[in-house]
Symmetry: C2
Subunit: 226 residues, 2 copies
Amino acid sequence: MASRTVEDYIKQIYQEQQPVPGQLVSLGRLATAMEVVPGTVTTMVKALAEAGLVSYEPRQGVRLTPAGEKLALHVLRRHRLIELFLVQVLKFDWSEVHAEAEELEHAVSERLLERIDELLGRPGFDPHGDPIPSAAGEVAQPRLHPLNAARPADRGVIARIADQQAEFLRYATARGLVPGAEVVIQSVDVPGDSITLLVQGKSRTLGRAAAAGILVAWQPEAAASE
Amino acid sequence: MASRTVEDYIKQIYQEQQPVPGQLVSLGRLATAMEVVPGTVTTMVKALAEAGLVSYEPRQGVRLTPAGEKLALHVLRRHRLIELFLVQVLKFDWSEVHAEAEELEHAVSERLLERIDELLGRPGFDPHGDPIPSAAGEVAQPRLHPLNAARPADRGVIARIADQQAEFLRYATARGLVPGAEVVIQSVDVPGDSITLLVQGKSRTLGRAAAAGILVAWQPEAAASE
DNA sequence: TATTTCCCTTTGAGTGTTCAAAGTGGAAAA
DNA sequence: TTTTCCACTTTGAACACTCAAAGGGAAATA
Ligand SMILES: [Mn+2]
Ligand SMILES: [Mn+2]
Ligand SMILES: [Mn+2]
Ligand SMILES: [Mn+2]
């Protein structure tokens, strides 16, 4: 059985290499993310390589092996199912489930996870819109785009909040910027570094940086073919 | 924060010294219960004493300090609330919740525990009839008696199953011997080492050893005053 | 009283995870 | 080309937990 520490390292490597699967993750990046000194990561990564979970290229970085990726997806599945369970069954706010899931993901048995999955109706996405890997390790990858790349008159549905800091999630909730909400872009102010959009009948303006944390599935424009 | 290991040792010491609170628990007993070699317990107990959780009398045994007892009750509260939650909300069988709770009791936050307690309606007893300590550390101690000490015509309600091995719990379930069930003693066969009683309209016979694992709250006899 | 026995303790060692601090490789700057 | 610099690695040590095996205390037995 992988220890709690190993599970967290593998999950972190998966997330750091997400943008470009198969990409090398530098150990410095990992050290920052795991909040340990660089020497600790070097030691740990050698152990992970020994266990066959990563391939390690000294001074270049690490990347997950198939076994590592399988483990990462299992941990992510636990994490995200637990977050959804906490929100739907125990009425937690979506801004406070992450820390809790970070612990519980290492403690739930397969049997309990299966019960939770069943009770929730085999959901595909967690409260933040992140896809929940299936028990077999498959992940949905909907084509989403950050709000900051939108153009006026674009119309779509918020699918995912990438910035999951508690403060940002509370900010987003207060403005109706939650997965499932329909949005229409009203204007993009390039010099002003902001974007204005219509959500739930209200006009909202937010900066580019904030907009970058919100991912939208755009509706295909009826007029523009191809 | 007490580690998982420390919490388990302290809980075990509490349970071993339960029959006579304040009693010394021998390290050998503890080694058997924790499934480690005796030397490990000696080392660990010194650390627990150092942390102020137990008082250690070399070659005599250990006993919890007030701080140790407080910790034990907190862990037991988590364990028992989790067991009840698994049975009531996730529809686990009461014979399979123990192992799960043994892990989760170290992973749930105070906030999550509070939600569970609230959702369950601040219950006083777990699925096996064990009292759930309050957040303040108070435990109900109903006066219960083992079935093997019953006399013919005694009448009462099963309150607790002390033998919590999965196999015994399934055996008990199949015969209606569960907390809340009314029982009337029909006969006690001393040479035959068995006892016969009426449960849910059915007559059941069980051996003394099995009867000892079932605790009953007897109804005061109407006829006998004093 | 002398001996045996059993439990408990001590010692030395190993694993997993971490840090502080010193050392090194190699890309980038000069 | 040479130097500088930063990221990475190495080394030595600590902490929590564990075991195997040897040593010791004192109650029970003879
Ligand atoms: Mn999360
Ligand atoms: Mn975690
Ligand atoms: Mn239990
Ligand atoms: Mn436990």
